[in-house]
Amino acid sequence: MHEQDSDEMISMLSRLAWRSVGRNKRRTIITVLSIALGLTFALFFITLAEGAYYQMIRDSVRMQAGHITLEQKDYRDAPAVDLYIKNPGELRNRIEALPDVEETKLLILGQGVARSGNGAVGVAVMGIEPSVEAGSSPLAKKIIKGEFLADTDDNLVIIGSSLASRLKLDLEKKLVLTTSDANGDLVDELCRVKGIFQTGSDEVDGFLVQLPINFARKLFTMPEGSATQLGVILKNQGKLNSVLKKIRGMLNDKDIVALPWREVMPELAAYITLDRTSNYIFQIILITLILFTIFNTILMSVLERRREFAILLAIGTPPGQLQLQVLFETIIFGIIGVGLGLLLGGAIAYYFRVHGLDISAFLKEGVTVSGFAMDTKMHARITAPIMLWSALIVFFATLLLSIFPMRRAARTPFADILR
């Protein structure tokens, strides 16, 4: 067939399909709305879930050691303060010069025992740069008593509300931190409570003590400028792999490794993977139910027109062309339905992106994942890939559904029908 003939054919098929779609308005509305609602539901759940994961990762990496963590290569296997980076300053400057890097932060992570006159509790000791953390760490926003740390603070700490309660501590009260220093010696430091935070996570509120990094270096007998971790916060989580590659290229010291947050916080990564998988399964079930409705209406539209198809076949229409006509009709349903779904779903997702969805009424106890308290106000996250992939999946699933009706149309027993 010549190109012009095929253009003519496509034009005629499009006309047939378009007018057939418009002929039974009720069926068309049901089909289009089914597709649109399917996509709307999918977008609602996916954008909310992705928003929650994004928030979780964002808060976790800001509170911990960044999207990318640089540390001694043996630190993960046996975390100890003697495995520190001696002079991270120059490397830090080079990393901060990368365009996708928002900021970097130094951390000293150690273990110890916090004691007061009322008891002792094993704690995680985290030395931080208060001026860096104040602007970005979620902990800085969770202070319920007193103040967050300052760079110049000496022998001042902030502790969680549960720990304060257990040790019966309050602002300005004294506690003693006992730990092993970088040389392996047992050391004690007397400090005072500057602030009390409450995140909702018992692991954080009951067992974390934060202190300025200079005080931590003094506590653990570490050299000036050193840190157990150099954390890198990215402007965009999606750039993780490319920035990680660049940073790994900068490393001259073979004892230092750069790890993505997934390896530093494997429990959080596993939770997100598991939750995302169950969310996708739910989406598949939901969309399958909706697709069943769509399949029904497309099949009905073919069965209702058996006589029409019989005539078309009888006068010499190739069966493949009838299949194309049904496919064109489905494409029209798909384009309108997906377009409407993107508008509806996008609008709803945008609303919850701006205003958030407060689920605290359903989760009175709050939710903690790997020690991180989830924000009970979920903000949807709309990204081009989410919108595009959801739309494409629904669109192509709809097209797949037309295969059986297409075959039915092409195999119309025209001699029996026309008898």
């Binding site: 005629m12 006309r15 002929r23 005539i311 009888a314 006068i315 010499g316 025209f414 001699a415 026309l418």
Partner: protein, 235 residues
């Protein structure tokens, strides 16, 4: 003159085992170009079955059908589809138009399948619609046309591709007698002026009388084949 249609010893059985219906038995018919043949008989006599076999829509149990020298019964489905598109025109009882296409689009549909250029196609179809008396109704949809007008569009579609043979299954069955008569006059006119060969099934005596030749079927067998005046009472 070479036959345009040859039906050689065609039989068609339906059913299996003990319940076999002999819809057609040893049918032999030959049509030459320009024939205008009515096929009559009571319901169940095998008229529609024979038309469907000629049109390649049904396979006979025995025998063969040759159109333009080609054995229809041995053709693949694709070849049959092309044969129906290029060499056979069909007129069905009613509702035989595509409801979402206008009269013009319905009539030109087969030409479009053949790949004829739009301008030539339009010119040809407008002339045919004029011939069948549908001037001014080209852009109406089937629902906007009367039964008789719809059948005229169906006839226009059937003859647009200049087929070797037009098969019409009870073309006047669902229109009143005046309209039916007019449709028969139209087909006869097309037969005489353009030499188009028509074979149509009917059970109406008025229609039979307008044919040049009348074949009467009964219980799947030809009981008479001759001029209408000679055989009309047998129908």
């Amino acid at each position: 003159m070479a036959a345009i249609l040859e039906i050689n010893d065609v039989s068609k059985d339906y059913g299996q085992g003990d319940v076999i219906v002999h819809a057609l038995q040893h049918i032999n018919i030959s049509l030459i170009p320009g024939d205008f043949v009515a096929m009559a008989g009571p319901s169940g006599s095998g008229k529609s079955t024979l038309l469907n076999i000629i049109g390649g829509m049904l396979k006979p149990t025995n025998g063969n059908v040759v159109i333009d020298g080609k054995d229809v019964t041995r053709m693949s489905n694709a070849a049959l589809s092309r044969l129906r598109r290029d060499r056979i025109g069909f007129v069905f009882q009613n509702y035989s138009l595509i409801p979402v296409l206008t009269a013009l689009e319905n009539a030109e549909y087969v030409l479009m399948l053949q790949g004829l250029q739009t301008s030539k196609r339009r010119e040809k179809v407008l002339a045919i619609l004029h011939e069948v008396g549908l001037d001014g109704l080209e852009n109406r949809f089937p629902r906007e046309l009367s039964g008789g007008q719809q059948q005229r569009v169906a006839i226009a579609r059937a003859i647009a591709s200049e087929p070797a043979l037009v098969l019409a299954d009870e073309p006047t069955a669902n229109v009143d007698s005046t309209t039916g008569g007019a449709l028969m006059d139209l087909m006869r006119m097309l037969n005489e002026q353009k030499g188009i060969t028509f074979l149509f099934a009917t059970h109406e005596k008025d229609v039979m009388l307008r044919a040049k030749r009348l074949i009467i079927l009964k219980d799947g067998c030809i009981v008479h084949d001759g001029k209408p005046g000679e055989t009309i009472d047998a129908a």
